[in-house]
Structures are given as structure tokens and as C-alpha cells.
């Protein structure tokens, strides 16, 4: 069979697995762990586009997550909007805000960009945290409505919410995948490898960087809106820079720049944290050094393991062939000597 067929079969299997998962895992608590991992994975796919594809460390991601979450939650609570238009509004607001921030922040380069976006993230966090009149400050918002129902099918049940988030995750992965294999995606990779070179061969660098940034904020915003609708309550904590660092961790563990990376990282970290007591108590005591070790020795993360194995196998194979050839030559040499 052709490799494409195998890949298609693998993707279909994963899709079915995702659909069947909540039926197998009936425990509500475990389901919540999975859904939250999906939501953070969606935001991390956004970070992957700006950091993994384009090579720009944007530290304001949690801020945009918060913008999406609070936009959706406030529209539902204060103006009685439904979940779906509120989600759309969250997407639009995080897109527009992302575009405005992109215009100014992308003029800076390297370290300045990281520091600039960090400041934007902190400002968003502080405004959400302190603007008591609008966001209810540290108390947060409670009673945020869920996705409601489509016709007779209620989406507010645990199962319904799972599938809503699942669909968004699949769409996020699909966008990440198609972007990676499109012309703009390749332009982003070119920018990551060398911005000057990309510019020199005529890539409109600024336009593509803006695209990547806006996509990353849109992903974060939608993930935020899903979070608000799923949890039903919302506090300023989810907009703090620590959440951005968490996304960074998911990305690094899963595999920066890869398609599977964000989901893999989010699931693994969430599960380790939930199910191993030692991870719960000393989460960052372990993950902090893991982050350092990964970036030094293993910057491709888990998603690069198959490639590394393939490469090693190819090398071993080549070595074996070379050795066999050497033995054959030696053998024929000694045979001649014998003759």
C-alpha cells in the first residue's frame, strides 16, 4: 500500500478514537481533564504557528486567551448573547486586537519582540484583573452559559461539550496541517530559518509574520471562549503569563513546529499532572528542568522521536551494509591470498 493510504487510515483511526473516547472514559473527572487538555492544545496550536513555524517567541498568548474568554463570557452574561455568536465575537475581537498588536510589535525584532509581547500579555492580564466594574476582578465571572442546544440535541451535557471542543480541536489541527503544507506555511518556515534570506528572495516577510501572529491570537481567543463556555466560570488566573509558560511547556514536550506536538504535549502534561501525585506536588520542579533538558538536547520534542529513530535506523543500516561490504572485500582478499 502507498504511504498516503496508511496515513489516511491512521488519521481516520485517530478521529474515530477521539469520537469514541468519552464513551469509553465515562468518568466525568477524567473527561474534564481531557477536554481542558484539548482547549489548551488549541491555544498551543496558535503558539506553534508563531513560535514553531515562524520562530518568534510571543509571550502574550495567555492575554489573548483571556481576551477571547472574557469577550465571550461578558457578551453572554451582560448582553444575554448565545454561546455561538459570542464565540464568533471572541474570534473577531482577538483577531482585530491581534492585528493591532501585530502592526506595532512586529516592527521589533528578536529579544525585543519577546519582551514587547510579554508586556502586552501583562497589560491584558492586569486590565482583566483590576477592572472590577467590567470583569469582576479577582472574583471572576460565574454562571457563564454553555453552548446550548442545536435542535433537539443538547450540547450542554458533558458529552455534548466534549464533542463541541473536539470539533474545534480537529479544525485547529486541520488548519495547522494545511497551513504547514501551503505556500504561506513554507514562507513562515523560511522566515524562521532566516528572515534576511526570506526577504532577499522576495517573500513579503512582514505580511506573513502578521498572518502568523493574527492566527496565533485567533487560536488563543477561540480557545478562551471555549474555556469560558465549558467551565461556566472564569477568573483572571487563566490570563497570567504562567499560562503562556504552560503552553510553551506543552509545545516543547510535544514537539515544536510539528503537527502532533501541541496536542501530544497538552495531553501528556495534563495526565502526568493529574494522575501522578509526585507531579501534582512538584509539577514545575520536574517540568522546569525537563524544559531546559529538552531545549538543550532534544529541541524537536516527542514528535521528533520517530524521525530520530528512522534516522538512527538508516545510519545503523548504512553501517551494517558498509561492514558487510568491508567483510566481503576482506573475505575475497583473504580468499585470494589462500589461492
Amino acid at each position: 500500500m502507498k504511504p498516503q493510504v496508511w496515513r489516511r487510515a491512521g488519521v481516520s483511526l485517530l478521529l474515530v478514537l477521539g469520537l469514541a473516547l468519552p464513551l469509553v472514559v465515562s468518568n466525568g473527572y477524567y473527561q474534564q481533564v481531557i477536554v481542558l487538555a484539548y482547549i489548551w492544545a488549541i491555544a498551543t496550536y496558535g503558539m506553534n504557528i508563531i513560535l514553531g513555524y515562524t520562530g518568534l517567541l510571543s509571550l502574550g498568548q495567555a492575554g489573548f486567551f483571556g481576551v477571547g474568554a472574557y469577550t465571550a463570557a461578558l457578551l453572554m452574561l451582560k448582553l444575554n448573547w448565545n454561546f455561538w455568536p459570542a464565540l464568533l465575537a471572541a474570534l473577531v475581537v482577538s483577531l482585530v486586537l491581534g492585528y493591532l498588536v501585530a502592526i506595532v510589535s512586529l516592527r521589533t525584532r528578536g529579544h525585543y519582540f519577546a519582551i514587547f509581547t510579554m508586556a502586552v500579555g501583562v497589560i491584558l492580564n492586569l486590565v482583566i484583573d483590576r477592572w472590577n466594574g467590567l470583569t469582576n476582578g479577582e472574583v471572576g465571572l460565574v454562571g457563564v452559559p454553555g453552548p446550548g442546544s442545536i435542535g433537539p440535541v443538547s450540547l450542554d451535557s458533558d458529552l455534548g461539550k466534549y464533542y463541541v471542543v473536539y470539533v474545534f480541536l480537529v479544525v485547529a489541527v486541520w488548519i495547522a496541517w494545511s497551513l504547514r503544507h501551503s505556500l504561506p506555511g513554507r514562507a513562515l518556515l523560511a522566515i524562521r530559518n532566516s528572515e534576511d534570506l526570506a526577504e532577499a528572495i522576495g517573500t513579503p516577510v512582514m505580511r506573513f509574520k502578521r498572518l502568523a501572529f493574527v492566527l496565533s491570537t485567533a487560536f488563543a481567543g477561540v480557545a478562551g471562549a471555549l474555556f469560558a463556555g465549558y467551565m461556566g466560570y472564569l477568573g483572571p488566573d487563566v490570563t497570567s503569563i504562567n499560562m503562556t509558560f504552560n503552553m510553551l511547556l506543552y509545545l516543547l514536550i510535544g514537539g515544536i513546529g510539528s503537527i502532533a506536538g501541541p496536542l501530544l504535549g497538552a495531553l501528556i502534561v495534563s495526565f502526568l499532572t493529574q494522575f501522578l501525585q509526585i507531579f501534582q506536588d512538584y509539577q514545575m520542579l520536574i517540568f522546569g528542568p525537563v524544559l531546559v533538558l529538552l531545549i538543550i538536547f532534544f529541541p524537536g520534542g516527542l514528535a521528533s522521536v520517530p524521525r530520530l529513530i528512522r534516522r538512527r535506523r538508516a545510519r545503523d543500516h548504512a553501517a551494517a551494509v558498509a561492514m558487510a561490504e568491508a567483510a566481503a572485500i576482506e573475505g575475497s582478499g583473504s580468499a585470494k591470498e589462500g589461492a
Binding site: 501583562v122 497589560i123 492586569l126 486590565v127 520542579l285 522546569g288 531545549i295 538543550i296
Partner: protein, 293 residues
Amino acid sequence: MDEWGVAMTLLLQEILNGIVVGSIYSLVALGLTLVYGVMEIPNFAHGHLYMLGAYIAFFLLTSAHFSYWPALLGAVVVLVVVGLLVERLVFNPLRKAPQVNAMIASVGVMLFLEALAQAIWGPNYLQMPTPYGNVLHIGALSVTQQQLLVVVAAIVMMVLLNLFLKRTMIGAAIEAVAQHREGALLVGIPSGRIAMLTFAIASGLAALAAVLVTPINLLFPAMGTMVIMKAFVIIVLGGMGSIPGAILGGYILALAESIGGAYISTNYQDLIAFAVLVLILSIRPAGLFARRA
């Protein structure tokens, strides 16, 4: 006192507070800018080295029953060692990797240090004891001995650091690496050892600043987060790698915060720094004083 006198006193008191906070900002930013100048790494863990210094001193004061000055010295020594270790184990292996990698590694160090402090000392706020708690009155202004100590010690340290950099061979070597890494290597300066030294000095300065100011504030595992973010604002303000810029920037930011906080809104006081940063980088994307290439 008439109305105008009250207003003046309030302003002077805010300026005084600004100078105290600014001394700390400057010391932390100095270390950050030194490391940036020599190694071109924005070290996100710098604020957490500051935090660790405060906890070490707290431990020496309360559990080992040191008095204040030996505890301060002990914290500085420990942090110098920690700084050396971090440079060797984390940043040295990443010298040739893309810029982003070192930044991410520094985030890893930061997360680790915060978790470490929380595991050892718990998540609660702690009060660091000081023998200098008395309040002095100068006219209508009031200031604690500790606040005066902060200002005097910070200024002494800045003078000493300046003498070290300008008057000693090693100091000149640090400045040479900061100006031009390859050039410094060419004339035989061991840039690896200079990087270690710089990191050690920066960590020591951070510990010193922390032990000086913590008796005024409180001790908690995340205390480094806001400090480091403000230190970044300061070194962008003063030019990344610039030492006078870090000192001046520290005082300017602290004064803007204390005066702005008093007259505009204390609720949004922390916002001032980041608003200033966004404004500056929007107008001048390479910082206020772009470093010579």
C-alpha cells in the same frame, strides 16, 4: 500646615518612596543588563534568582540565627554559586543555538526556582526580620532605617561596580566582551570565563537587592515575576546592555510609578511600566538607545 504644604509633603514622600524602590529596580536591572550585554540572553530567571536570594537570607536569619549582615553576605555568596551553576549547566550549552532557545531555557530555570522555593518554604507570604525597623522623621516626612539602608547600599554598590568595570583588568574584559564578542576573543579574552563571572556578579547583585528590600515588602515564591518584568522594561528604556541606562531607567520608572500611583490610581500602578514599554517600542522598535552594533 496650609494646603500647599500638605500637597508638597505628599509629593516629597512619594519621591522618597520612588527613590527607595528605584534603588532596588536599578540593582536588579543592572544584573540583567550586564548579562544581556555579555551573553545576549534576556534572562527570564533573573527575578527568580532575586527571589531565591531573599529566601536564603530568610533561612539564615530565622533557622540558622545569623544576624542581618552575615545573612546578607551568605545569601550573596550562595547566589553567586547558583549563578555560576546556571551559566555552566544551562546557558553555556546553548551558546550556539538559536536565540529563542536560550530564552525558553531561562523560562525553564524560572519555573524550577519558583517551584523549589514553594516546595521548601511553602506558598505563604513570609516576613523577613530586620534590626532596622525604626522610623525616622525628617520634617514632615517619615522614612524607615531600612529604606535609608536600601538607598545607601544601592548607591555604594553602583559606585563599586562602576570602579570594578572601569578600573580593573577583569572589568575591562567584561566591557570588551559586551562591546564585541569576537573582537574580545581575538585579543585573547576568555569569553566563556567572562560569561561565568558576569552571571555570578548579576546573581549576587540580585540577591543583595532582594535581602535589602524584602524586610520592607514580603517574601513569597512568585515575588520575582513582577520584578523581572519591570527590569525588562527598565533595560529597554535605558538601552539593553547599557549600565548607566539601567540605573537611570530604574529610578525613572520607580518615580513614575510612585507619583503616577499616588495621583492617578494605585489600582493601575503596575500597569504604568508596561504601558511605557509598549509606547517606547511602538515609537522606537529598537529601544530608546539602540546599542551600537
